[in-house]
């Protein structure tokens, strides 16, 4: 006990460090190792070393991978762009006191804390072409019914809509916290100078809120690039490969095709990509840091 007390730094962090090494660093190294091999996971046949050929195949002979990368970015762009716009609108709408302020803030939390698989199921029913609520609504408005997830040209967009529904509240709450932290003085000065509400928004709120907007956008983008639950439960990447992203392709390659070497090379590329985006985020934040 005395020893533990004298080396308190080590005592306190060692369990976490061992856990992270065993559960994160060793697996990443093992995945890198597998990415240089061909293996089906069989205990009887050892992984066969093939050098960088998995990577070479990924970038030159696997069109499914390139498509998945493009779709991942399209999905993220649509979802995060809409979440930012709508989130900013909602933040401005519920900023300041009104009756039921706390209730509203609580209720809009629900989409982002609810279990993603259950959300996927609920939206599958909403999107159902024949008995779904959305087509019933369209018919009632005299509009043509949609195929939603059934059509390969629109399925990705409708999946993004679910992500937008789920995560716009987070964007709104982050921006709301940012709005609450804005200084009063510039607004008073602008009011004295006779600036309109729109001018105050464009010339004061947006620039002052900019660091928060960037931080929230990057944070959401990192998560949106990794989206798995909604896509896999609702379409499994289909119809065809129309909604297949890097994450679902990696999963299918590893756990449905058991091409562990191939999948590992894809996952290492994915890992590097996400880490790159995150480093950009951390550097950016250091520059603007204090405002967050």
């Amino acid at each position: 006990m005395d020893f533990l007390n004298r080396h308190i730094r080590v005592t306190f962090i060692l369990p976490s460090v061992i856990f992270v090494i065993a559960m994160m660093i060793v697996p990443i190294l093992y995945t890198s190792y597998l990415s240089l091999h061909i293996w089906s996971g069989s205990a009887r046949r050892a992984p066969e070393f093939v050098g960088l050929s998995n990577y070479e195949r990924l970038f030159t002979r696997d069109p499914r991978f390139g498509d998945a990368v493009a779709r991942t970015f399209i999905f993220t762009g649509i979802a995060v762009g809409a979440e930012l716009t709508l989130g900013l609108g909602i933040a401005l709408l519920i900023n300041g006191k009104f009756l039921g302020h706390n209730l509203v803030k609580t209720l809009i939390l629900l989409p982002m804390v609810a279990t993603p698989v259950a959300i996927g199921m609920a939206w599958l029913l909403l999107y159902e072409p024949n008995i779904g609520a959305l087509n019933a609504l369209l018919r009632a408005l005299g509009l043509p019914p949609q195929d939603f997830l059934g059509s390969s040209s629109t399925a990705l967009l409708w999946l993004a809509v679910v992500d937008i529904w789920q995560w716009t509240p987070l964007m709104a709450l982050i921006l709301l916290a940012g709005l609450a932290a804005l200084p009063e003085e510039p607004y008073e000065a602008a009011r004295v100078d006779g600036a309109s509400a729109w001018q105050r928004f464009i010339h004061l709120t947006l620039p002052l809120l900019f660091p928060t907007i960037i931080a929230a956008t990057l944070l959401r983008s990192i998560d949106a690039l990794k989206t798995f639950d909604i896509i896999y439960t609702m379409t499994r990447g289909g119809p065809g490969f129309a909604t297949e992203t890097i994450n679902t392709y990696g999963y299918i390659q590893a756990f449905e095709y058991f091409q562990l070497g191939q999948a590992s090379s894809l996952l290492i590329v994915f890992f590097t990509l996400i880490l790159g985006v995150s480093l950009f985020f951390i550097r950016f934040r250091r520059r603007w840091g204090t405002a967050l």
Partner: protein, 292 residues
């Protein structure tokens, strides 16, 4: 008297002006409430639809013309619990979420304290990385290692993998918490003869209880909602609810009532927790965006 009269005229003109202003503001206020109500409706409607459908027979679900004309039935819930070993999956989910949260707290609290007090930023960055790296990067090694160890079919791989989600969040929230906690109290305790570990356990830990609750709840919800890790690491007996529901879809894709009942069962605990501890959850979820 004349002075009074002279003042009276412009006053009434002012009143008219003020009245117009009040009317305009009342109109704007009403519009704002209508907009807020619309936003709330969008975020809550899928939940309401899910709940409504879970009390409908298959025939009532297919009738989209009159959505409220149906006799509520509990048949879907009865089926779910009888046919699909749901109780076992519910217990699995609860055990995994509770135990992974508990162990994450045991590892994460001392680590967060040490990072905050001894400025061990490098460890903070590593834990942050665990939050950022795509979880699928670890899945192939985990699956292989846990299979070799004969642990697939026990709850151990699920608890360990969910800890990798919970631990970074707990550390993240708590580092910020301990940084804000004045060090003087711990120093006073040390002067009174407390050891460093004693100072943490008897002074810092009790003072940080609100943060611990926040962190614990967020970790619990993340584990409860987790889909991808459980999909790979659970077998027939150790399945958690999200996997059970997902399989339910593939086997009985047309039983929408049952599916929605299952979705309600899994979502309800999370929604109830959220309603009660809303304030903490917002802080927990946006901790990453507003604090480092």
């Amino acid at each position: 008297m004349t002075t009074n009269y002279a003042v009276h005229v412009p006053q009434s003109a002012l009143n008219v002006y003020a009245q117009q202003r009040r009317q305009r503001q009342a109109l704007l206020g009403a519009l704002r409430y209508a907009a807020i109500a619309f936003v709330l409706f969008i975020f809550l409607a899928p939940f309401l639809w899910m709940l409504l459908s879970s009390f409908k027979t298959q025939v009532d679900i297919t009738n989209t013309r009159n959505i409220l004309a149906f006799t509520p039935t509990l048949e879907n819930y009865r089926n779910v619990f009888q046919q699909h070993e749901f109780l076992r999956y519910l217990l699995n989910s609860f055990a995994v979420a509770a135990l992974s949260t508990l162990f994450s707290l045991i590892l994460g609290l001392p680590a967060a304290y040490a990072i905050a007090r001894f400025r061990l930023q490098w460890l903070g960055v590593i834990l942050l990385t665990a939050r950022i790296v795509p979880g699928i990067t670890f899945l192939i090694p985990w699956y292989i290692i846990f299979s070799r160890l004969g642990l697939i079919g026990t709850l151990t791989p699920l608890i360990l993998s969910h800890m990798l989600v919970g631990l970074p969040f707990i550390a993240w929230i708590m580092i910020a918490f301990y940084e804000d906690l004045p060090i003087e109290l711990e120093e006073a305790a040390k002067i009174d003869g407390a050891t460093p570990i004693g100072a943490f356990l008897r002074v810092a830990l009790p003072l940080s209880m609100p943060g611990v609750i926040t962190a614990g709840i967020v970790a619990f919800i993340f584990s409860w909602n987790n889909f991808m890790f459980s999909l790979v690491l659970a077998d027939d007996r150790t399945r958690t609810l999200p996997i059970a529901i997902f399989n339910f879809l593939t086997y009985a894709s047309v039983d929408w009532g049952g599916l929605m009942a299952a979705a309600v069962v899994i979502t309800l605990p999370v929604l109830i927790i959220t309603l009660f501890v809303q304030r903490y959850i917002v802080r927990g979820l946006i901790a990453g965006a507003t604090k480092g």
